[in-house]
């Protein structure tokens, strides 16, 4: 099972890199989203995949019986999902605001905060 999921993780990474290299902000954000989901899957595989019982301690017992799944990756992924959920909510709103105030989602055209150097601008005027 692990090799299969590992291949899926690799494919997701490839997709996200492809999207991240795109010039459109929307695709860029999509790429980040795929990347973070691939990462969650990666942590899941890193914790080893087993077909076991849920990690719960039965009533009246002090420790869990043998053969329970590793709860730590699940806790890590849940934390990471919560964090990425809130961050992406922010980034999506930001993208929307950027589209409204800058009138573009083309990353090459977003130069309000980074105007071209003065020398280059002058040269541009001469030509």
């Amino acid at each position: 099972m692990e090799p299969l999921i590992a291949i899926v993780v690799g494919a997701l990474f490839a997709i996200s890199v492809f999207l991240l290299l795109s010039g459109s902000l929307i695709r860029l954000v999509m790429g980040l989203f795929v990347l973070s989901n691939a990462t969650h899957l990666l942590i899941f595989v890193a914790g080893r995949l087993t077909r076991e019982n849920p990690p719960l301690i039965a009533e009246g017992m002090k420790v869990a019986e043998a053969g329970i799944a590793n709860p730590l990756p699940q806790a890590l992924i849940l934390t990471a999902i919560v964090i990425s959920f809130s961050l992406f909510a922010f980034v999506l709103v930001l993208t929307y605001r950027a589209h409204r105030s800058l009138h573009t989602v083309d990353t090459e055209a977003m130069r309000v905060a980074e105007p071209a150097p003065r020398a280059a601008r002058l040269r541009g005027r001469d030509v």
């Binding site: 964090i83 980034v91 977003m110």
Partner: protein, 512 residues
């Protein structure tokens, strides 16, 4: 160790988070929020001071959250480095808060300025004081979420533009960090840094570990603004409120550098030749390109952003050399850079405020209108360049000495050359902005009368905040011995982390 001393670790994190929650409940009530903001930051500073005094007297300290025994629970821990950086960060945050209060409109203040600053300080203190690598990631995200809120506060067009770049690249960096942590967990089955150090040392060195180490270097380097991943910083740091720029420049990159130091002294202490080599070259390139970028820049606030980048190179150079003296220099430089980055951004903000522009080729003759600002800018700039009586001088002396001892001549040349370039930058901007005769035609907002009028409102408090930081860098330069002593203790603890590990793992009692 009784649990009560362990609580000293909790307060610097818990107090600002509670204050932030309280300020959020008082949403829209601007005066209440401001009051809670200052109370929270002051309480955090006092807590950090108490923690530092304890760590200085008794050595490293740790506490497992919820009483879950190490290495399974999440432990907070402080050695001299963590406690010292928390102390200086909370102190500088207080000065920045005064500046932020005096420099913001009531709408910005009721729009969440203080709750967000408190949340950011929670994340910063948490990152300095955790000994769990996944928890470190969580604190990074706490600072990131609050910095997102802060960077768009005000909502001008260029802020949105800067925020997009800042958000996307920092999100990418933290995701890469999470990948590195996931892979490391898959390899070792633990997240506790002391436990990781032991487990990694037992693994055979090879491609897997080396690539994880490189992944840590890339992701944390991106957060710290290390070459070639620093471009987001000068694209974004000049856009928000000056106080927010000061806060980011003072603390966020330093948290990245701290994490680099922590990870590469505990988890990957030695034997990662490729990573070390990459780190040294990246540090040298960061120093030089940061200084060159600053020299070429005409926007004063972007110029200051580039000097922040250059400083990151100096700190990472210390880590790349790795000897005790080099780590001492890196730690001293972090303290210096926290103070000076904030001071320079404050000064740049005041220039914009008094003259209405940040273009150093258009500004002129500000010395006549605001002489105190000229003096403060010059002192802060000279300290940045590393001119002798000021605080920036000492860490560079130690670093050059350590570099020569270790045979890292390339880094020594880079440190000296970048210092020279920064001196040129500071001289050029000071001469243009403050010293040359005012050209009345070129400066539409005439500085002399306009300055005092623009600063009449909260101007006094802005001056106090900047003055306090400049005084601090002067004092640290003149009385460097105590800082060197603290940095030396911190560096030697990093080189021999036994007591820190014992505290984290709770094994101190087991040893004679």
């Amino acid at each position: 160790m009784s649990e009560m001393t362990g609580w000293l670790l909790v307060w610097p994190i818990l107090l600002p988070v509670l204050a932030s929650a309280l300020a959020v409940v008082a949403w829209g009530r601007e005066r209440t929020q401001t009051l809670i903001g200052f109370a929270g930051l002051l309480a955090q500073f006092v807590a950090a001071l108490a923690l530092f005094v304890q760590v200085w007297a008794q050595g490293p300290l740790a506490m497992s959250m919820g009483g879950w025994a190490a290495p399974f629970g999440i432990a907070l821990a402080a050695d001299t480095l963590g406690a010292g950086l928390t102390l200086i960060a909370t102190l500088v945050a207080l000065a920045i808060a005064v500046y932020a209060w005096a420099d913001s409109t009531p709408e910005q203040r009721s729009g969440g300025l203080f709750p967000l600053v408190l949340a950011l300080m929670t994340g910063v203190a948490g990152a300095f004081l955790t000994s769990d690598i996944f928890n470190l990631y969580v604190w990074f995200e706490v600072t990131l979420i609050s910095s997102f809120g802060l960077i768009v506060l005000g909502g001008r067009r260029e802020q949105i533009d800067g925020a997009v770049k800042y958000a996307v690249l920092n999100l990418l960096a933290t995701t890469l960090l999470l990948i590195a942590i996931g892979l490391l967990y898959g390899l070792t089955g633990t997240l506790n840094m002391a436990d990781l150090a032991a487990k990694v040392a037992q693994l055979p060195p090879g491609a897997a570990l080396e690539s994880i180490a490189l992944l840590f270097l890339v992701s944390l380097g991106m957060k710290a603004a290390l070459f070639p991943l620093y471009f987001w910083l000068p694209a974004a740091y000049h856009t928000p409120l000056p106080a927010v720029s000061a806060l980011f420049a003072a603390l966020l990159t330093k948290v990245g550098v701290y994490a680099l130091i922590r990870v590469f002294t505990t988890v990957f202490p030695e034997g990662f030749a490729l990573t070390r080599e990459a780190m040294a070259w990246a540090a040298a390139a960061t120093m030089l390109l940061g200084a060159l970028g600053a020299l070429a820049e005409v926007d004063l606030r972007r110029l200051v952003s580039y000097t922040v980048v250059s400083g990151v190179g100096v700190m990472v150079a210390g880590l790349a050399i790795g000897s005790e003296a080099a780590l001492l220099a890196a730690i001293f430089y972090i303290v210096h850079s926290i103070i000076i980055s904030a001071a320079l951004f404050m000064a740049a903000g005041l220039v914009v405020r008094s003259a209405g522009s940040a273009d150093i080729e258009q500004l002129s003759g500000l010395y006549k209108g605001v002489p105190w600002l000229a003096v403060a800018f010059l002192l802060a700039g000279l300290s940045l360049a590393g001119v002798p009586p000021l605080a920036g001088f000492w860490p560079k002396v130690y670093l050059v000495q350590a570099g020569l001892d270790a045979g890292a001549h390339m880094l020594v040349v880079a440190v000296l050359l970048s210092g020279f370039l920064l001196l040129l930058t500071v001289g050029r901007s000071f001469a243009l902005v403050f010293w040359r005769e005012a050209e009345s035609a070129a400066t539409p907002a005439s500085p002399a009368p306009g300055a005092s009028a623009a600063l009449a409102g909260g101007g006094r408090h802005l001056r106090y905040a900047l003055g306090a930081l400049v005084l601090l860098t002067l004092l640290l330069g003149l009385y460097a011995a105590p800082v060197v002593e603290v940095a030396l203790r911190a560096a030697s603890e990093l080189r021999a982390p036994g007591p820190y590990f014992d505290a984290v793992l709770g094994t101190a009692e087991l040893r004679p």
